[in-house]
Structure formats: structure tokens, C-alpha cells
């Protein structure tokens, strides 16, 4: 079965949700990911500098960096264009 979302779509969802600091469980619940893939996505985004890992005592949260804003804006513009450029469907 084809995947519902591409990795780029998942990155966008995580980055938008993490505009304010979020914990791991909240992220995987909101973005509908399992723990393993959720961890992989977060590690990838931290490694690329789009997400910052914040440690406060025992708590770890994630927040989008200013660098992520560029990706978020580009993604939003590309996906909104899908409705501007392709022939739409109307009854």
C-alpha cells in the first residue's frame, strides 16, 4: 500500500507543530508517528539544524529553529500552488 505522507510532508508537520517547544510524545501523537520513526525524524531534523533539542532537567523538548522557517514557507507555497496550477475539480 502506498504511504499516506511523504517524508517532506512529515518534516513540515513536525516543524510547524514545534514552533513552540514540544515533548516527544506530543509530537508523535500529533504527527501520527510511531516511536521508532518519530525518533528517526526528530534526529534527522536536529542533525540538519531545523530543530533544536532543549533540555530542562529531565525533560527534553524540541523547537523549530529560524532555519526551519525557510523550509516551512517553501513547502507551504509549493503545496498551495498545487491548487493554483492544476485544473481543479468542481461539480
Amino acid at each position: 500500500m502506498a504511504e499516506r505522507r511523504t517524508p517532506y510532508e512529515i518534516y513540515w508537520e513536525i516543524l510547524v507543530y514545534c514552533r513552540t517547544p514540544r515533548g516527544f510524545t506530543a509530537i508523535i501523537n500529533r504527527c501520527d508517528l510511531n516511536s521508532k520513526t518519530g525518533q528517526e525524524y526528530l534526529e534527522f531534523l536536529v542533525a540538519k539544524g531545523h530543530l533544536a533539542r532543549i533540555r530542562e532537567g529531565d525533560r527534553v523538548s524540541y523547537q523549530s529553529t529560524p532555519q526551519a522557517a525557510e523550509y516551512i514557507a517553501l513547502f507551504s507555497s509549493l503545496y498551495q500552488k498545487l491548487f493554483d496550477t492544476s485544473p481543479g475539480f468542481r461539480l
Partner: protein, 210 residues
Amino acid sequence: MGEDTLSRFKGELDSFFLIVLLNMTFGALAMAFGMQYIVTVVLGLPVWQTNPVIRIPAAMVALVGFGLGMSWILTSARMLRGIRDIRRESRHSPEPVNPETLTGWILKMTAHYRENQKTLRQMIVICRLGGCAFVMLGIVSLLQAFAAGSAGGDWWSWAIPVIAAAINLTIGIVTILISIGFHRYASSWDQRLKTAASSEDVLQHAMERK
């Protein structure tokens, strides 16, 4: 971009919602009429005083219509459930809509299409087959009406088949139109998925940029 994209998105969502709802309604009607016809023919009730040579193939067509109607309703209900949530969210969102909220809805619709792509293709085929079955049933009813009229019986002996023909032809034609609607929706989304896939290089580049 924003407002225009939003109105296009909402318009498309409403159109698709309506077409799935219509599909479900006509699926239920198709199943009900199919079932009614089978019961009439199998039990041999003398509803229409017609030749068995006409009634047997009509019953076979009705049986096919009934089976198709059943799968038709189930698939429509599944599809409707997915878009109902997106539609509800977009209708109750305060204006002006944040561009990211709109992108989130587009993403949900994209995921919904990917999830239902195969079902939608099956539904196009089912609708076409079901539509053709009902058109054929309508034609059979018209032949019955013609035969009854030629035999010179009472007015109701030809009026009832005419009413049945009108119902069957309406269901058949609307169903074929629904399949055309689904086909146009699928073509539109296939194009979008292609465009989205071709944008992945740009997104990859933005992701790697430091």
C-alpha cells in the same frame, strides 16, 4: 495566493463531499431497487404481466446491480468519513485562514487521496458498471411497457413499467455522471501528486541548506 487557493480548496472539498454523498444515496437506491426486483422476480409475483424471457435476464441484471450497490455504499461511507473531518475543520475555522492552516488541510486532502486512490479507481469502475446495469434495466422496462402497450391491456399494465424505466434510467444516468465526476477528481489529484513529487528536489535542497 491565500484567499483564491482557499476558495478553490473549499469549493473542491464541497464538490467532492457532495459527489460522494450522492454516490452513497444512489448506491442505496440501486441496492433497494435491485433487491425489490429480485424479490419480485424470484417469488414470481405478478407485478408486471410480462414474458419470462424478458424477466429472467432482467433479474440477472438486477442481481448484479444489488451486489454492486452493496460494495458501492460501503466504499462511499469509508471515503465520506475521511473528508467529513477535513470539511468540518475547514468550515469552522475562523477567517482569515492562516496559510499554514490551509497547507495543513491540503496535506490532509493529499493523504486522503493517497489512501483512497485505489478505492476511487474501483469506484469509477463500479459506478460505470452499476450505471450501465440500471440503464439496461430501464431499457428492459421500456420494452415491457412497449409490449404491454402493444397488447392493448389496461393503462396501468404499461404505466408501471414506464415509471420503473424512469427510475432505473435516472439512477443509471446519475451514476454514470458520478463516475465521470470521480474520474475528473482522480485526474486532478494525480496531476497534483505528480507536481508534488517533482517538487521534492527543491524541498530536499532546502532541507540540506545550512
